[in-house]
């Protein structure tokens, strides 16, 4: 049997997407429906006193919904259920939904939104971590603090005592917008007291849970289905519960199908973004470059409600120590509240923030010690069978040294340095530099997450021999609905055309967990591999034609049968969430970036020329899809490094919530990318695969920062690494 895994199998959805026939949420034909919309707060903080409808406007045909129309709980289900679907009294951010409107005519609806006003007692607000920490204005809980966590190893005091030098610096990162090209769109309708949702989403069972709470419904009374999804990157992980709730409330009240579409401006103004961060990094080192202690305050801006920020804090902290063996560590994690829309999931999930801090600081120290940044890293890298600060004993699959060496080798580091020196000698106003970053990503949920979710996945075996993969994991561009069937086909020892993914609909597919945390291929894929093996064993066929006969005989008079398996925890994984000890992740994927930049010393413009990367993601199931994923992730991380930034206007509203002023990389900004994989199979992943999705987002910002440092000798501490910031340093 020819292998399927490791092949560039064509995406199942490629044809429909290139021809424009794929149906995204706003493309699905609907009959007799209303457009829905929210009317949000015009202030960042206040107390709502009254909702006023313009008496001179013709309100015929409008449906209105406020919090009093909610049949169940006005709480968005999340890790912490502290956010309401609709404002009752307290307003915590600009644009927060107060009232919902629906009308059959889009233009009339838009006019109606303008004819609503609110009586609000305005209150002073905070928009930044430092304002929140100053506690001059308390806007949430007793002290603006949602959550603290502590990770500790060894003896910090002793560690710093043994240091010859101590370097302490503070790093800031801003909001980052996911900038999926398809904005939010969701449709809701009711039938026989059951609510049906269809739209753009990552995690149908999150919405399922959320709507059960909102409407006080049972499992089978809430049906969630996914349309084609035009990108997500974490941005469609938790927010879909809110927009689905809004659409369903309007539909319940109007008795009609309701579709809510966000335009780009609204989408960027009120949906979740990457948490801004402040990292105070203090590192002790010996003269020879050995790190003796790391003390870090890692503070995230959770936004107006805590929602799921604690798990993002956890992941940020559990990557904050970098790929190093450190005996004495303290990482103090804090989530503060601000009067900004709640922040949420975005590819990397806290790790891009903490890696920016640690990987920039490592380079800064190398420069201060007059050491090569590669030697300083190699001296401190965690080794095979080493220990991470949580006390996690790592196995022999620690590959940070290997991926780093391979990256330097691919970039021809020795010669590149000579070329750079030569270039810089001959160019007065252009200076080149090479910088790198070394990083990792824990695949699957943090700690006991996978055990708690207990994912179930399966396939439907049909009489005609066709096999449909039954998972709640969504296709959002990453290729999951092509890669998962590849794994099943391999396990069944059948050609690809027998297997495809069933449409994602909670009335059809089991809860195989959310499509997050770089877990789909590794965790769900492994469950599916076991399902495939079970069928192969049960039917005991020798070849394709034998298979077809045995399926018929086995199913007898049935048309199909479903086969399921649930998550099996690999042995030896133990996590103590109270004390932050043990195996934070079942395994880690390792990577290294090298970036060649050119800084214009007149305009301080930074151009990326070349980027090298090496990823250890275990076995690569589909090389073309995998390389597309990592290229996209690299470019997203370079956008984070250089241009992406949210700024506020005077009312505490995002000022640049549009593609004109929020700058994502265009095709002109992209360096030549040289990507490479380190192929080592992971024992507990399907055919040796590990998680991949988030890893490429983690390393771009520090690599670019270090390349700028190498080019012009400035130490930068804030993202984005803008010309303004460089000018400020150079001309001070």
């Amino acid at each position: 049997m020819e292998k399927v895994v490791g092949k560039n199998i064509e995406r199942f959805d490629a044809k429909s997407k290139v021809t424009g026939t794929a149906l995204y949420a706003d493309d699905i034909p609907l009959n007799d429906f209303l457009y829905g919309a929210q009317v949000g707060s015009p202030v960042a903080r206040g107390i709502l006193k009254a909702i006023k409808k313009d008496p001179d406007f013709d309100w015929t045909g409008f449906t209105f919904v406020d919090y009093k129309d909610i049949p169940g709980k006005n709480e968005v289900e999340s890790v912490v259920w502290d956010m309401p679907f609709l404002v009752e009294s307290e307003i915590r951010y600009h644009g927060q939904a107060i009232l919902l409107l629906a009308h059959k005519n889009k233009e009339t609806l838009e006019e109606g939104i303008k004819r609503i006003s609110f009586d609000i007692e305005e209150l002073p607000y905070v928009t930044t971590i430092d304002e929140s920490l100053s506690k001059k204005i308390i806007m949430a809980r007793e002290d603006n603090v949602f959550r603290t966590k502590l990770l500790h190893r060894g003896d910090l005091e002793k560690g710093f005592k043994n240091a010859d030098f101590i370097f302490e610096n503070t790093y800031y990162t801003p909001h980052q917008e996911q900038a999926y090209i398809e904005p939010f769109a969701m449709t809701a309708h009711w039938e026989n007291n059951k609510v049906y949702i269809k739209g753009t989403m990552q995690c149908p069972y999150y919405i399922h849970g959320g709507l059960k709470v909102l409407f006080d419904k049972k499992d089978d009374e809430v049906i969630i289905a996914q349309s084609a999804v035009g990108g997500a990157f974490g941005g469609k992980e938790d927010y879909p519960t809110v927009i689905s709730g809004h659409a369903a409330l309007l539909s319940l009240k109007s008795g009609k199908t309701v579709k809510i579409i966000y335009d780009r401006d609204l989408d960027m103004n009120i949906t979740t973004k990457r948490h801004p961060s402040k990292s105070v990094v203090k590192i002790g080192v010996t003269k020879s470059g050995k790190i003796t202690a790391l003390d870090m305050d890692f503070i995230l801006d959770g936004g107006a409600y805590e929602t799921m920020s604690s798990v993002i804090l956890a992941r940020g902290m559990l990557h904050a120590f970098g790929p190093y063996e450190l005996a004495n560590v303290r990482i103090n994690g804090v989530i503060v509240a601000t009067n900004t829309p709640p922040n949420g999931a975005f590819r990397g999930f806290g790790a891009p923030q903490s890696f920016f801090a640690i990987e920039s600081q490592i380079d800064l120290i190398a420069q201060k010690l007059n050491m090569s940044p590669s030697e300083l890293r190699k001296l401190n890298f965690v080794k095979k069978n080493g220990t991470f600060p949580t006390g996690q004993l790592l196995g022999d699959d620690v590959l940070i040294t290997e991926v780093f060496e391979q990256m330097l080798n691919n970039a021809d580091y020795e010669n590149l340095q000579k070329e750079i020196a030569e270039f810089n000698k001959n160019n007065k106003t252009k200076k080149r530099g090479f910088g790198f970053s070394t990083f990792f990503h824990g695949a699957g949920f943090t700690g006991n997450g996978e055990v708690m979710v207990a994912s179930k996945a399966g396939v439907r075996l049909q009489k005609d021999g066709k096999v449909f993969v039954l998972v709640a994991n969504t296709e959002m561009g990453q290729g999951a609905h092509t890669v998962l069937p590849q794994i099943v086909a391999e396990a069944l020892e059948l050609p690809m055309d027998y297997v495809r993914t069933e449409k994602v609909d909670t009335s059809i597919v089991p809860n195989s967990g959310p499509t997050v945390a770089s877990r789909t291929t590794m965790i769900v894929g492994e469950i599916l591999r076991r399902v495939g093996k079970k069928i192969k064993k049960t039917l005991n066929y020798n070849n394709e034609s034998d298979y077809l006969e045995k399926v018929k005989a086995y199913l007898n008079n049935k048309d199909s049968e479903n086969f399921y398996e649930t998550y099996n925890k690999p042995p030896k994984i133990v996590w103590d969430d109270e004390n932050y000890r043990g195996d934070a992740y079942g395994t880690y994927a390792w990577a290294a970036y090298g970036v060649l930049t050119e800084v214009d010393t007149l305009s301080y413009d930074v151009k990326l020329i070349n980027a090298w990367s090496v990823f250890d993601i275990g076995k690569v199931i589909n090389p073309l899809l995998a390389s597309g994923q990592v290229e996209g992730g690299m470019i997203q991380s370079f956008g984070y490094a250089l241009t992406e930034n949210i700024v506020f206007d005077k009312k505490g509203k995002y000022w640049n919530a549009d593609f004109t002023n929020y700058i994502i990389p265009s095709i002109m900004d992209v360096p030549k990318m040289h990507i490479d994989f380190y192929n080592r199979e992971y024992e507990f992943g399907p055919y040796g695969a590990k998680g991949l999705g988030e890893l490429p987002m983690d390393g771009g910002a520090p690599a670019v920062n270090n390349a700028i440092r190498n080019a012009i000798g400035v130490d930068l501490f804030n993202l984005p690494l803008s010309p303004e910031q460089i000018m400020d340093k150079m001309e001070r």
């Binding site: 560039n8 064509e10 995406r11 959805d13 490629a14 044809k15 429909s16 997407k17 290139v18 021809t19 424009g20 026939t21 794929a22 149906l23 995204y24 706003d26 493309d27 034909p29 996911q178 900038a179 999926y180 090209i181 398809e182 904005p183 084609a228 999804v229 035009g230 990108g231 997500a232 990157f233 335009d263 780009r264 401006d265 959002m476 561009g477 990453q478 290729g479 073309l624 899809l625 390389s627 597309g628 994923q629 290229e631 996209g632 992730g633 690299m634 470019i635 997203q636 549009d658 593609f659 004109t660 994502i664 990389p665 265009s666 095709i667 002109m668 992209v670 990318m673």
Partner: protein
């Protein structure tokens, strides 16, 4: 607002519609003509997801009002595929080179590529990038889209040679 009558062609088919003068071509295509392949990504002419050809020029349907459509010939993604609805050589090249991920930007990129190749665009990477610089993609990092365009040019030239 008073309505106007406009006549134009879309994918070689004649249409006459009555609409408000400032109504966007994007809405006319999607709502009136039910041509859903042209997408709205930003609504302000930045992202290129709504790219179409108007009288052969690459244009953005989200910032083109009805008043500008009289007598025009419009080509959308639905008019690019082969007669039987199968992908054209450009679309096939995009598939083969992995240029498609979430797919929401893809129709726009296909339109920009179609225009570039129709105008005799060369395999020069900088020129290809310039031709596609009005389109955003957040998934691919653009490398595989450039590969797709290069492959399409090769296939186009092969076809011409035959």
């Amino acid at each position: 607002m008073n309505k106007i009558k406009v006549s134009f062609k879309v994918n070689n088919k004649d249409y006459e519609i009555e609409t408000t003068p400032l109504r966007r071509l994007l809405d006319i295509l999607r709502e009136d003509l039910k041509l859903m392949g042209t997408k709205e990504g930003c609504g302000e002419g930045e992202c290129g997801a709504c790219s179409v050809l108007i009288d052969g020029e690459l244009s953005l349907a989200c910032i083109t009002p009805a008043t500008q459509l009289e007598g025009k010939e419009i080509l959308t993604i639905e008019g690019i595929s082969d007669k039987d609805g199968e992908p054209s050589y450009i679309q096939k090249a995009f598939i083969d080179k992995g240029a498609v991920q979430c797919g929401f930007c893809t129709p726009g990129f296909v339109m920009a590529t179609h225009k570039y190749i129709k105008d005799g665009g060369s395999n020069d990477e900088t020129k290809i990038k310039e031709a596609l610089s009005g389109n955003f993609c957040r998934c691919t990092g653009y490398a595989k889209i450039v590969d797709g365009v290069k492959e399409a040019i090769v296939r186009h030239n092969d076809k011409e040679a035959k």
